[in-house]
Symmetry: D2
Subunit: 384 residues, 4 copies
């Protein structure tokens, strides 16, 4: 749109191509109006090119009405969970975004698929492998897309790192170490209830470490070791683990060593050691502010370079990828199979922690990822 | 809205209070649809609580119509410059945002005021002190607000630093050094034409250094030394200076030494030396990614701390402050007088560079800043 | 010696107190003239206050003579290993510094003790728990000091962190993650031969992670999980492990997750997660350039502070602590018992890796550390 | 000496070549036993390959005797200033290192030359241009070397940056900004007495900024602007300036903007802006811990790389360069002419500050630098 204002040695300008007119966008029903919906996903629509929010589903009608007003969603489009199946009669809704407690992911995904809607489901996909499989089956039978919201796989930072790995810039990968921890407060929060959350730190924040190691290496773990701990008497951890450490061994010998906790000051990073370089993301996994550094010898000196890569809005990227899959009828890059595989790893970690023995893991039954996201979808740096 | 999920030692949650319903927002006409409007200001409305874009004024109707569509602005609200005075008949427009070449700021501000509109004008305010004074007069006579878009004065990073300075945490300020440079390309760009831009690097990017030194110290310069340079034969700098260095001396002895250029790789930082600490912003003045570090002795060891303070969208903050001034009928924090004073400094720098002598500067005739922005207006971190 | 030149808000001056006159220093025989002796320990004597090198023991007389000349060591004080027991007749030698391949540590320590010499032995202490116990016994029976060269326990960086932990500044410790890896070349190097090295990455560089976790927490592991890997066909790893991951669980629930490798680009760091803060050393474990950062909430903002603490020469600190223990007849801070305990952990890790099961570890039979090093010994920042 | 232990992608090992046997080293008389001698220079001899300290000259015999003992300097080699000319009768002394108050540099340099000694003189070279010229003349007439102790010109960090500049990696240089400030305490210190110090912050710490800009650009300033300030009533600054800002313009248009102060918390950095990159040293000018970062576009992304380059002991490098010039009878890289030129710049800055006008500076009458230091002399990273 504009000719370059600066010389060619400067950062290319990022004038975003225009988003779709509103009447051509994929309409999304937001299912669950909690923190992630209010603080992250609803604001992200302002950065989306292909989506618009059209329905809110919530058990707290007063709150939902207030929020609906902010987003020009009419009162008639604010539904209670009892009305969920009415989505089938709302053609403006093409997809649903599931942001409910983990234990409800399976039911509300399956019902959405049966109502003819495509599904973008938050991670973790569900609480059990069995639930994951049911979700995949339901969407397949309904001919609807199922995408799990692994936002890091769409981030330009992670994709830039993946590209360098694939080009062999660092040689073979050897070791991945990562921590993702935060410090929980209220013991009554649903994330600390086993029936709702399925576990503690592991499925919530530890999941990022698992997924990142699998994503960057392109391999699947064959051997899993796990350890869990809850401090006796800490009311927060009567039902779920306080922290969890695990080692994943992949076929090439690449190994991931991770620690995830619910009682530590927020701490998020990974380091990836390869033959001729290391890469570090610190912070990692965050909604914003993630930083990538790469260290290697250049002309006989160690260079540790920070790469300035704008992530833009991670949630908008996800939404836009989902919308493109709907419009172009293609498999999401992170389909249900990707979530299922992480759930298989989680169950193996818990099994190992219970038995004190390492656990073998068979490969997934097929590919867990669809086609790469279009680079266009990673270009929405500057807004609509 | 949500009870805290994490312990009290963790970062407080930032669930943004809801923005105003659209029908209560201040309607803004965007005057000039160039880079800053398209890439920064129009997207920023998604983060604004109190504003909405309602009119586009552009000389390129085709481009403007395309953009209008993105923002649900009807075709009838896309004006040509010839129709500018019709704004007087458009009650939906309460304020204008002036994003034109510098030489047009005065005319379009004055005409807006006469049309009964409040004005938010980009920096630099104008090309001459005389123009600045006319703009102030016109708005005063029309009883309209005039605010200059000094976004750094609204950023939580700069305000946190200012707060620490005012609390005496660092002792008296001594030295400020700063650079703000970038590398221009096309010699035909209006920023390289004296008649349009008023100067080269100094009024465009060097202005940030002047304003930051004044803002952080709360003082006004009394003595100005300047130096300018243009490489002979470089087509970009036939009309305006390539780079400029200047020293500003303030009454307390605090001194700012700055360098600003149009032929260097993008480089933006300042360091502020005080009696017992230094503070550094690097990058500084950027649309995003600015980082603040403070270094001082703590328990006998030098601690260099980076403060993680989310800036959010700087343009949305400005817009919201402007809207609040309109709604509450109060003086903007950065009114025309603030822009006028910077223009006086710029003229003194140029005068010194021409004469090779230091130039005395009398104090401004009155206060240059209105009341502090409400902290509420600096809380829009997470979106609408 | 000098009155302060700067104000009290500045870094205190570090004019080192003078070292002992040479004739009062503890004379050291350097046993083994390989990399660590030539590149690190011999130059470190220039920074030592209490030691001097008086004898070299080497199998390569030509090389040793050349080096002796640099350090004013007479030809008569260059011994072959066959002459090792002649140390008993050399009263100028009060202590020996053992810098031999790991498998020789036990023999040369025991023979030194029998010759009446105090022993400062490089890490790892030995290749087996049995050897460690024999070394301790031999020194005890001979009434000689035995110190293991755990240089990190004497570094002002690590000790500053330990002090903050003990003062409760971060609340309870939760998780420690660490990596210490490097990329080996020549497959014939003794470090890649099991008989000489006792193992691969684990006893050489992984040992730092074990020791740091024990040192910082003040706890001893009760549960150990290990994993090892060697890439088939890589000539470097036919005898020893290529990389190793392990999880150590301590009684309080504190857990260390570590990865150590011999086929990765040099990568050294740890992060310690506690209740209200995290601390990170990156690089860690290095001879110089280690950096400590601590992150926590201060007045509602996350502050990530880098602490500038000069480490000075780590080898000089060790030597001086050793000399003081000799002169004052006190137990070293890191005696043989400290090395023995690490060896017990190493054997447990290997046992777990072989069996695929977690391994319980009983507590050490007594204290593993002597009195804290005097702060005087951590003040030798500026040289002799 | 040792075959490489790590793969070729790792940092090359730095086993230092052995230093000269003591009887072949250049014997140095240390003239002045103040801070820099005791804390920096005397300890640095341990890292020198070619020098040894053989005489101390001091007005405080008790202190000097204590220090002499540390360095095996016999009592007979501890001289009073009254005995200075006896150096002529001491053939073991080949060179002197002048570490006296600035006002004494000229006299003691000239007397040393007349006594037949080579001279390594601390910066600033002297208090006036006239003194500098007398020093150069005296050494020339005596056929002795005169070297000024500009340690940064021998540092591998600065030389690596210079090499990249010369190779054109960043394109033409445009702007240099720098600060070098510290916070003085005792008003009675000689550095705050005009007769002894010649000035305040400028000749002491500001000098580094001048020299660095000249060194990196390879140009000489043609136009100088200066500003000085002393806070009325501050007892420290009754005789000398508190802080000083200056702008140096070089023939190509390259410009240095610097600020130096004696009342700010220690703050040391420079940034160099060039056409396609910027380089920053922060901290800069320090005895240790200087860090070099370079930022530029690589494959469309901004990479900000920190280069890990070990500086080793800066004082040992200087001493060894000096010794090599003596042994090989060659001009030092930073001879008297280099110090003279900086003094000319200092006088121009002061003249400009007094007059409020820019001051023209003619080029130096000839080359100010001798041959580049041998790279061998920059390899003494690990000790003797």
């Amino acid at each position: 749109m504009f000719p370059p204002i600066e010389t060619s040695s400067e950062k290319p300008e990022k004038t975003a191509p225009p988003g779709d007119p509103r009447d051509q966008r994929v309409g999304i029903a937001i299912v669950g109006v909690g923190r992630i919906s209010v603080n992250e996903v609803l604001p992200a629509f302002a950065h989306s090119k292909h989506c618009k929010p059209v329905v809110l589903v919530s058990g707290d009608r007063a709150k939902a009405l207030k929020i609906a007003k902010q987003y020009d969603i009419p009162e008639s489009a604010v539904l209670d969970y009892r009305d969920y199946d009415k989505l089938a009669q709302m053609p403006a809704v093409e997809g649903v975004y599931i942001a409910l407690p983990n234990s409800m992911h399976a039911e509300y995904t399956i019902r959405a698929a049966r109502a003819g809607k495509h599904v973008l489901c938050e991670k973790p996909m569900a609480n059990t492998v069995a639930e994951c499989e049911q979700m995949i089956d339901a969407c397949r039978q309904a001919g609807r897309k199922l995408m799990i919201a692994y936002r890091r796989q769409y981030s330009p930072l992670d994709r830039a790192l993946l590209k360098m790995i694939r080009e062999g810039r660092f040689g073979p990968l050897r070791e991945f170490i990562s921590v993702n921890s935060q410090n929980m407060g209220d013991p009554q929060h649903w994330r600390l209830k086993r029936a709702l959350a399925g576990g503690g730190a592991l499925p919530d924040v530890g999941l990022y470490c698992i997924n990142e190691a699998r994503f960057l290496s392109g391999e699947e773990p064959v051997d899993v070791i796990g350890n869990t701990w809850s401090t006796p008497g800490d009311a927060r951890f009567e039902e779920v683990e306080e922290h969890c450490q695990f080692i994943l061994r992949f076929p090439s010998g690449f190994t991931a060593s991770c620690s995830t906790g619910y009682s530590s000051h927020k701490s998020q990073m990974f380091r990836l050691n390869a033959d001729t370089a290391w890469a570090e993301m610190s912070p990692a996994y965050a909604y914003e502010g993630n930083k990538l550094r790469i260290s290697r010898q250049v002309e006989g000196k160690e260079h540790t370079a920070e790469l300035q890569i704008e992530e833009g809005n991670q949630f908008a990227r996800e939404l836009d990828h989902f919308a493109q899959c709907v419009r172009k009828n293609q498999e999401p890059h992170t389909p249900g199979e990707e979530g299922l595989q992480d759930q298989r790893v989680i169950e193996a970690i818990y099994a190992s922690a219970r038995s004190g023995k390492s656990v073998k893991l068979s490969p997934p039954s097929g590919k867990t990822r669809g086609p790469e996201p279009e680079s266009e979808s990673t270009g929405n740096l500057a807004g609509p």
